[in-house]
């Protein structure tokens, strides 16, 4: 296996959790809800995903546990922001703080344990094609799932009636409510979808990336996923480009450390975070003529009957 091929495989693996979490958050934000708790939902998803897989011996059950945990976490968020009309930014922070504590509590008994990683696809003939075979036909199921999810979300948002209503709720909740659409219910499902994706993204880390659980293993990926949604201007297609770019930065810094480039390893480790800041500045600066964000993003909605 060539070095280039190895790097591309590593980039795809590093990008997949970012893509999964960002896709979920994109749908949530398109419905007008800013859930800053992605990091918290991811880390609980990672702990529950590993726990499920370790206890059952099945990666699929692990992934389902991760999804379930993410949905439960997102329901707390929905109850607070949609049910009780609490500020979304503060609630998202609370969700992250709670998630970090809960994951430590749940995951403590699994620290030091090991599982076998999710298997990679192998189609005799196709996977063995030199150069592109492993990249196109030799990934784990999550990689394909994340790409299918992006296509599905794009189709849902732009080609279905429900998707149109969801976007309407995110752009102007008062009008959507006046037209008789259940804004809060739509938003609740959008938040739950975001939670499911974040939980799965978290579970990906111990199930397909590193075969063990360590506390804090998401290392800010949830926050980077939030930044990716801004980077993508809330468009699913651009999310793929953004996620793979960030995955590339992550892998680049790992390899650069391995090659012994004469730069402190901490500076290389800081690259993904610095890149996020620079990208946010450049993207926000380019958008001088009005923002592309959903118009009602982050605002509280209390229906008057």
């Amino acid at each position: 296996m060539g070095l280039i091929e190895a790097i591309i495989l590593a980039v795809l693996a590093a990008s997949t959790p970012l893509l999964l979490a960002a896709t979920g958050e994109l749908v949530t934000e398109r419905a007008g809800v800013l859930n800053l708790g992605v990091e918290g939902m991811m880390i609980v998803g990672a702990a529950c995903g590993f726990g499920g897989a370790w206890l059952s011996g099945s990666v699929i059950i692990g992934a389902l546990c991760g999804i379930g945990a993410g949905v439960l976490m997102s329901l707390i968020f929905a109850l607070m922001t949609l049910g009780l009309a609490v500020n979304q930014v503060a609630t998202g922070l609370a969700l992250t703080i709670l998630g970090i504590g809960l994951s430590g509590l749940i995951g403590s008994r699994f620290v030091g344990e090991k599982i076998s990683l999710a298997p990679h696809l192998h189609i005799p003939g196709l996977t063995d094609i030199p150069l592109v075979g492993r990249i196109l036909f030799g990934e784990d199921a999550f990689v394909y799932l994340s790409l299918a999810l992006v296509i599905g979300v794009w189709f849902f948002l732009y080609r279905t009636r429900t998707g149109l209503i969801l976007r309407a709720a995110g752009d102007n909740h008062t009008s959507a409510h006046a037209l008789g659409y259940p804004v809060l219910r739509i938003r609740m499902f959008a938040v739950m979808f975001g939670g499911a994706c974040a939980g799965l993204a978290g579970a990906y880390l111990p199930l397909a990336y590193t075969p063990f659980f360590i506390p804090g293993m998401t290392a800010g990926r949830g926050w980077i996923a939030l930044a990716l949604v801004v980077f993508a201007s809330w468009l699913p297609g651009r999310l793929v480009i953004g996620a793979y770019l960030f995955g590339a930065v992550t892998i680049l810094q790992l390899h650069a450390q391995g090659w012994g480039v004469g730069v402190p390893s901490q500076l290389m480790s800081a690259l993904p975070y610095l890149a996020t800041i620079i990208v946010l500045v450049l993207i926000s600066r380019a958008r001088t003529g009005g923002s592309t964000a959903p118009a009602a993003l982050g605002t509280v909605f209390v229906p008057d009957r």
Binding site: A90, L102, G104, G180, V230, V281
Partner: protein, 363 residues
């Protein structure tokens, strides 16, 4: 059955006063259930958490020591949150303040520098924290980048910078390769208030910060402008307030206070610069700010209460083998209940059974 919110005609000041207490009560009830689920006796666990620290003078002093950074950071954060600027990177500003002040301590080590060293370190910590806090503020007002994400990203960067310094250039040559600077000289440490005790000058500084915050918000034009910009941005525009300038100011003050808290922590309780100097003070301070209802006096009490959870958490781990993560869970749940109870100030909650059938409009 459906939960319906009804806007109150005016905000309920009675509930505004007691809502933090309701929130604490609900959190304690939830924690009892969690303790029972962990197989621990809830009564004795809560006792270890919230009563045992009051018994001996060492723990009492330790509460004040832990509350010092929490209160200082939270006062700064409350200014930001009142101005509707979301600084969530106080942890990073805390670390950079610690680094900036430690630079002087490391450079003057072993020289016969006078007692000016510690005040100069305080100043450096404040300046370092303020400059670091200004980065997300400038990115926001100049380029429109979300201050939430940039300030949070800078926490990871600060953490890595500190790690680099204590493993590289500033490492104690006689430290057996541990990632730490040498112990600071006496002139570079925070003076202790009681001989042989834990209580140090930082506690006094925190009280001064509380008083200054109260005066700034209640008695000065700038404080008024900060509150108006956050609560009624349109009115602020008509009033001719420069909201960008106020955001920069709030971030600078917030960063300076966090940075000062950082250098006090390093030059006081810790005594040298090393990774892990903060058990998440910058994040816990967010809870302190909200539990104190963004009011300086409230923040003082909230800071003491959350400091108690750190001490209680450590004792519960030692005596009852309750994992330290329970403290984080506790803090997260507390913030949820605080926010939910705050909603009661503006709304009345009503449970509606058998919701009336509403005919849908366009379909």
């Amino acid at each position: 059955m459906q939960l319906v919110l009804e806007k109150r005609a005016e905000r309920s000041s009675a509930i505004a006063l007691i809502s933090p207490l309701i929130a604490i009560g609900l959190t304690l009830a939830t924690m009892s259930i969690l303790f029972a689920m962990l197989g621990k006796n809830p009564i004795s666990a809560l006792g270890v958490y919230f009563i045992a620290p009051f018994v001996d003078s060492y723990s009492l002093q330790e509460i004040a020591v832990k509350a010092t950074p929490l209160v200082m950071i939270a006062i700064g954060l409350s200014l930001c949150y009142l101005a509707n600027a979301w600084n969530i990177g106080a942890e990073g500003q805390f670390l950079i303040g610690a680094v900036a002040g430690s630079w002087l301590a490391v450079k003057t080590q072993g020289t016969d520098a006078g007692p000016w060293v510690f005040p100069a370190m305080l100043l450096l910590g404040a300046v370092g924290g303020a400059l670091y806090g200004l980065i997300p503020a400038i990115c926001k007002v100049r380029f429109g980048a979300s201050e939430i994400l940039t300030s949070l990203m800078l926490v990871y960067v600060a953490d890595l910078l500190l790690d680099y310094l204590v493993r590289g250039p500033w490492r104690d040559p006689k430290g057996f390769n541990f990632p730490t600077t040498a112990e600071f000289d006496p002139v570079a440490t925070v003076p202790v208030l009681i001989e042989g005790g834990r209580l140090h000058l930082g506690g006094v500084i925190a009280l001064v910060v509380v008083a200054a915050g109260a005066v700034l918000l209640a008695r000065t034009i700038k404080g008024f402008e900060i509150r108006v910009v956050g609560a009624a941005p349109r009115a602020a525009r008509f009033g001719g307030f420069n909201s960008n300038q106020l955001i920069l100011l709030a971030f600078a003050i917030s960063g300076a206070l966090a940075g000062m808290a950082g250098i006090i922590e390093v030059a006081g309780p810790v005594g040298h610069l090393q990774p892990g100097i903060s058990p998440g003070y910058g994040f816990t301070a967010i809870i302190v700010a909200f539990l104190g209802r963004l009011n300086p006096i409230g923040i003082l009490f909230a800071g003491l209460f959350l400091a108690l959870t750190f001490i209680g958490g450590e004792q519960a781990q030692i005596t009852m083998k309750i994992p330290l993560d329970v403290t984080k869970v506790f803090q997260g749940i507390l913030l949820f209940f605080v926010l939910a109870c705050d909603s009661l100030i503006l709304y009345r909650f009503k449970l509606v059974f058998a919701s009336p059938k509403v005919s849908r409009g366009a379909h």
